[in-house]
């Protein structure tokens, strides 16, 4: 059984992952990107590093999937894998900056060994940043999504 559509999807997906990894390694935010696969060509340009786009170091210790970061909480990767902002290709993302999320709501997924692992908000609040780019490889404990908990820093359960 060979389905050309699946084949294309697979290729696109692989490409997306490759580019995701590449973009994550850039020292600054991506400005322009051109990819051609037949005869291979790649052009990429990036801007100066900004605080928000620097690759996040994993937190000092990741006992839970939610950490404090000043008055923000951060959802971290529950395992090594590939981070996706949406349940599937072409689907709307789980959350966007400015969205309100409820405790237990999925804010992304980490795919590992073909299994999707939901990253869930451990408190209710507002999404202030999605730090990891879609399709990028993430390590255990890597910061993915920042939330401002409802009712200030002490709310939402530690």
């Amino acid at each position: 059984m060979h389905d050309p559509a699946t084949d294309w999807r697979e290729r696109l997906r692989a490409l997306r992952e490759e580019i995701g990894g590449l973009v994550a390694d850039l020292p600054g935010p991506v400005a322009a990107l051109t990819v051609r696969v037949g005869d291979c060509s790649l052009e990429i340009a990036w801007g100066p590093p900004s605080a928000a786009s620097e690759r996040a170091a994993p937190p000092r210790d990741a006992p839970s999937e939610t950490e404090r970061d000043g008055d923000l909480r951060v959802c971290t990767a529950p395992l090594v894998g590939t981070f996706y902002v949406a349940p599937g290709p072409g689907e709307p993302p789980f959350v966007r900056v400015g969205d309100r999320v409820e405790k237990g709501q999925a804010v992304g997924v980490v795919e590992a060994m073909k299994l999707m692992n939901r990253v869930v908000a451990e408190c209710s609040g507002e999404v202030v940043e999605v730090r990891a780019a879609d399709g990028t490889p993430v390590e255990f404990g890597q910061e993915l999504v920042f939330l401002r908990p409802d009712g200030g820093p002490e709310a939402g359960g530690a």
Binding site: P63, T82, L115
Partner: protein
């Protein structure tokens, strides 16, 4: 040859593997838990991937994360070190399914040698001497009692899936057997997920000898001489040496021959260790019996490296890459004497309580014939989640007396301290100075008999674990 290898271990063995890879021009990926983020292994590798929290089950033993880390970094092979998943056939299969080469003997061999009772039966059929005991796993307590009555007490009850000196207990009479059978079955189920046990006659004062074998995937089998690992505390090795002292030439040859037969029978590839017991006898010509086979690199591999001049990690990698051994048996020469001391963060004088912490002082010895394999450097913190080994001191000298003197000198130079940190350094010094060790009259119960009340059946030791300076 591989361009990149993922090291699926931690601590000193991860550093050891990274060093050889660097010499071979192979890039390395170190995986680490959050507790090992600042560990030495990460400093010696080209890349790192944080794979999970401190608990091994969710990090170093969680196969999907290791495979994911290998695939993402484009590693072609995985070196499992020792411990963790190094002898797990399921992990070996998972690696193969994902196009990764696991540096080891392959899932089928792992499966066989992981079943101690089955290996024992296979090798007995191949002509290796085994201790009297059950033919395989015992099906019930009633069968265990029958076997014990037949072979005579004391008996040793061993988990079929055991290893590393765990899942083993001694019974001296029927009452003890009933308790030990129940406890070993329960602990084996908890530790290894398999409660099956088998029985053998117990030799209380035997010597633990093992032969290092090296096999390629094309049928060549070499032995690299033997090691004596008799200096143990509750079946955990403290001091190992190569060659074994005071061994009659005929016994040495027989051990090597048995080990080669074992490797061929099991169709082993890569490094393997075949373990034997030598029944206590003054002339070193006692009875040899087979115990078990391990298919991983062992903690004590450096003593073999020192007397053969080989790099065993390099040999493992070459074999895993499909190459033929370039050595012939005649090329393997044992030269001089090597001793390894395991320096653990444990307080031997307080019931061997683990005593990890920050290594404010970590001054390693040097000078002629001294090698230190460590997973830590000064300023590092020994995490409490893993085994307590801080470093291995390995020395080489032309003869045993010289090696003992050199090891004692190097132990004196070794300084390890920090808040709450206590090490086995003082104990190792006392053991090396002990007449029984110096005269090679030591055996597997030698330390326990001097530090524990009565026989070593798991009774907590008293507060004073000192080895007296004489006797």
């Amino acid at each position: 040859m591989f361009e990149k290898i993922l090291i699926a271990g931690r601590g000193e063995i991860a550093v050891r593997i990274a060093r050889t890879c660097r010499e071979m021009g192979i890039r390395t990926v170190a995986v680490h838990s959050t507790a090992d983020r600042d560990g030495a292994a990460a400093r010696y590798a080209d890349e790192t991937v944080q794979i999970g929290p401190p608990q091994p089950r969710r990090s170093y033993m969680y196969a999907p994360s290791l495979i994911e880390a290998a695939l993402r970094t484009s590693a072609e092979a995985v070196h499992p070190g020792y411990g963790f998943l190094s002898e797990d056939p399921d992990f070996a299969r998972m690696c193969a399914e994902n196009g990764l080469t696991l540096i080891g003997p392959g899932p089928d061999v792992m499966e066989t040698i992981g079943d101690k009772a089955r290996t024992r039966a296979l090798l007995a059929a191949a002509g290796l001497p085994v201790l009297p005991g059950s033919a395989g796993a015992v099906a019930s307590l009633a069968e265990a009692e029958e076997v014990a009555a037949e072979v005579g007490y004391p008996v040793i009850v061993k988990a079929v899936a055991g290893g590393g000196g765990r899942g083993i207990a001694v019974a001296r009479d029927l009452g003890e057997l009933r308790r030990v059978h129940r406890e070993t079955t329960a602990s084996a189920r908890a530790m290894f997920g398999d409660g099956a046990v088998y029985l053998e006659r117990y030799l209380p004062r035997a010597r633990h000898l093992e032969v290092q074998v090296l096999c390629d995937g094309h049928g060549a089998v070499l032995h690299l001489g033997e090691r004596d690992c008799s200096t143990q505390r509750r079946r955990q090795k403290l001091i190992e040496e190569a060659p074994a002292p005071g061994l009659a030439a005929e016994v040495r040859e027989r051990l090597a021959e048995y080990a080669v037969t074992a490797a061929k029978t099991l169709r082993h590839s890569g490094l393997g260790t075949v373990e034997f017991l030598l029944d206590d006898s003054a002339d070193g010509a006692g009875d040899v019996t087979f115990m078990e086979v391990n298919g991983r690199i062992q903690v004590e591999h450096p003593v073999t490296e020192m007397v053969t001049g080989l790099d065993l990690v390099r040999e493992q990698i070459e074999v895993a890459a499909g190459r033929r051994l370039t050595l012939a048996q005649d090329d393997v020469r044992i030269s001089g004497w090597a001793i390894e001391c395991r320096i653990n963060a444990e307080d031997a004088d307080a019931g061997w309580r683990p005593a990890p912490g920050r290594l404010e002082v970590f001054r390693v010895p040097g000078g002629p014939g001294v090698r230190v394999d460590a997973g830590f450097e000064q300023g590092d913190t020994v995490p409490p989640y893993y085994d307590s080994m801080v470093a291995k001191l390995v020395v080489w000298a032309p003869d045993r007396a010289g090696a003992i003197a050199r090891a004692r000198r190097a132990l004196d130079e070794f300084a390890v301290s920090g808040p709450g940190v206590v090490t086995t350094l003082p104990l190792l010094g006392r053991l090396l100075a002990h007449p029984a060790f110096v005269e090679a009259r030591h055996h597997t119960a030698f330390v326990d008999e001097r530090t524990e009340p009565g026989p070593s059946t798991g009774v907590p030791p008293p507060g004073d674990g000192a080895i007296p300076p004489d006797g």
